[in-house]
């Protein structure tokens, strides 16, 4: 597996200090003109304090969304005729940079608060009960598209591996160096799908082969592709976009 040469350890990484610093720099530039123009003349122009308020409001919004989240409320499902053709490719890189993971040597790694941490092959994942859904993928940018995904109910998988279902977070590490994490309530939602297929075909690389996590109850950036490892934890794991300022809960 090529990706492992550059990323020796995918499980539980310690605090990502460099990224935190990068993120702060990003924001210093990010707040820029608008904020300064708006708040000029006041002492509130200090970007750090403004950013502190915005970050804590974002955390407040995480809590508000967790409270709003209804574990029994299903995302609308659509007829197959409503599927968006072609379903758009989207990532933090261009389509020419899509990672290709080797199916034969693929092993899903498990760690953290899980009883059975044996790695899973694709054949083993495909042998679990399968289901499918035609749902709307909503991007944080404002566009949306309808697609058909098939795979294993994530709650089924979590029960099978003996995950601690009272833990707070599930984190994901991906072959394209993407990473993100979700709340347990969403993980157990009936439409949260360990996705192995798109439009009844094996998930193509551009949609996240060998596996993505599909959650119609969350924005696109919360749906990781090319998942190589997952871990159950009570320590906040953050995420690629979340560490730069996207809202962590990202619920829809």
């Amino acid at each position: 597996m090529k990706w492992r040469e550059t990323k020796p350890s995918l499980a539980n990484q310690p605090a990502r200090q460099i990224e935190t610093i990068e993120r702060r720099l990003f924001f210093r530039q990010g707040l820029s003109l608008g904020a300064l123009a708006l708040l000029s003349g006041c002492d509130v122009t200090d970007d750090k304090s403004v950013q502190k308020i915005l970050s804590s409001m974002s955390q407040w919004n995480d809590r508000a969304q967790a409270a709003i989240f209804n574990p029994n409320k299903l995302a609308p499902e659509y007829p197959e005729s409503a599927i968006t053709q072609p379903f758009p490719f989207n990532a933090y890189y261009g389509e020419d940079k899509v990672r290709v993971v080797d199916a034969a040597s693929y092993r899903l790694e498990l760690s953290g608060l899980i009883q059975e941490k044996n790695p899973w092959t694709l054949a083993e994942l495909n042998a679990l009960p399968q289901s499918s859904q035609v749902t709307r993928h909503v991007c944080v940018e404002g566009w949306s598209a309808i697609g058909k995904w098939g795979g294993v109910r994530f709650s089924t998988f979590l029960e099978r591996i003996g995950a601690d279902l009272t833990a707070k977070y599930i984190g994901f590490r991906c072959a394209d160096d993407y990473y993100t994490s979700i709340d347990m309530a969403t993980a157990l939602h009936p439409q949260t799908l360990l996705t192995l297929r798109y439009a009844d075909q094996t998930l193509p690389p551009k949609y996240g082969f060998p596996m993505k996590l599909r959650m119609p109850t969350k924005l696109g950036y919360k749906n990781p592709k090319h998942i190589m490892a997952m871990f159950v934890t009570n320590m906040y794991p953050g995420g690629y976009w979340e560490d730069q300022g996207y809202n962590w809960f990202g619920g829809s």
Binding site: F26, F27, Q29, G30, L31, S32, L33, G34, A35, L38, I53, L54, S55, M57, S58, W60, N61, I68, F69, N70, K73, L74, A75, P76, R136, V138, C139, V140, E141, G142, W143, S144, P216, T217, W241, Q244, G245, Y246, N247, G251, S252
Partner: protein
């Protein structure tokens, strides 16, 4: 007890036009609306629904993530402040006494007068019909903005609201149109304040000299 009917102030030469709660909510709202619109333009730019973008230089947030942070922080203040204002307006009877009636013919004539630059503002304790129409329209726009905003933010948890807006894209369009209408009224509002500058200090002090 809360009363509104243009209360006499202590020194009887002055009348209270805008009680403190109206002035406070007005200025908080002015700031919040500015933040919401400027950050909203940046969010719009990430995936425009029409054939144009807003110049990034006049938006707030620096990038999509920053704009979203501003938007979703300020929304709480918008709703909280708006709730206080609406409750006060209804309970005090201010809405009833100041905003109504709005006779369609008078509204039409007033807007026509305003466009010709001869809208009467003799008595600042009474809103003319153009003002009444504009202020009621602002409240209406704000309510539509909050509801369509919720529909965009929570198309699953609040899917009934999203469906009411005509789906996810419909909600984005409704949100945009309500913003455009609100921005238009704000521009007209500021223009009128510039044309009739003695209305401005009243929104700060709340009082004006009794008209003869």
């Amino acid at each position: 007890m809360i009363t509104d009917t243009t209360t006499r102030s202590a020194s009887s030469d002055y009348v209270l036009v805008h009680p403190l709660i109206v002035r406070a909510t007005h200025w908080i709202n002015a700031l919040v609306i500015l933040i919401m619109i400027l950050s909203g333009w940046r969010i719009y730019n990430a995936s425009p629904i029409f054939d144009f973008k807003f110049p990034n230089g006049i938006t707030l947030g620096g990038w999509l993530g920053g704009a979203l942070q501003w938007h979703f922080a300020a929304m709480w203040l918008l709703v909280l402040n708006g709730f206080v204002y609406l409750c006060y307006g209804v309970v005090s009877g201010r809405f009833k006494s100041r905003f109504f009636p709005i006779a369609p013919r008078a509204l039409f004539n007033d807007i026509l007068d305003a466009l010709h630059g001869k809208l009467a503002h003799h008595d600042l304790t009474v809103y003319n019909t153009a003002q009444r129409g504009a202020y009621v329209a602002v409240i209406f726009c704000a309510i539509v903005l909050v509801l369509s905003g919720l529909a965009i933010w929570k198309p699953v948890q609040m899917q009934e609201l999203t469906a009411l807006c005509g789906g996810f894209m419909g909600a984005r369009i409704v949100h945009f149109i309500a913003m455009a209408l609100l921005a238009l009224i704000v521009v007209a509002h500021i223009t009128m304040v510039i044309l009739v500058p003695r209305t401005f200090p009243i929104m700060i002090t709340g009082r004006t000299r009794r008209s003869s």
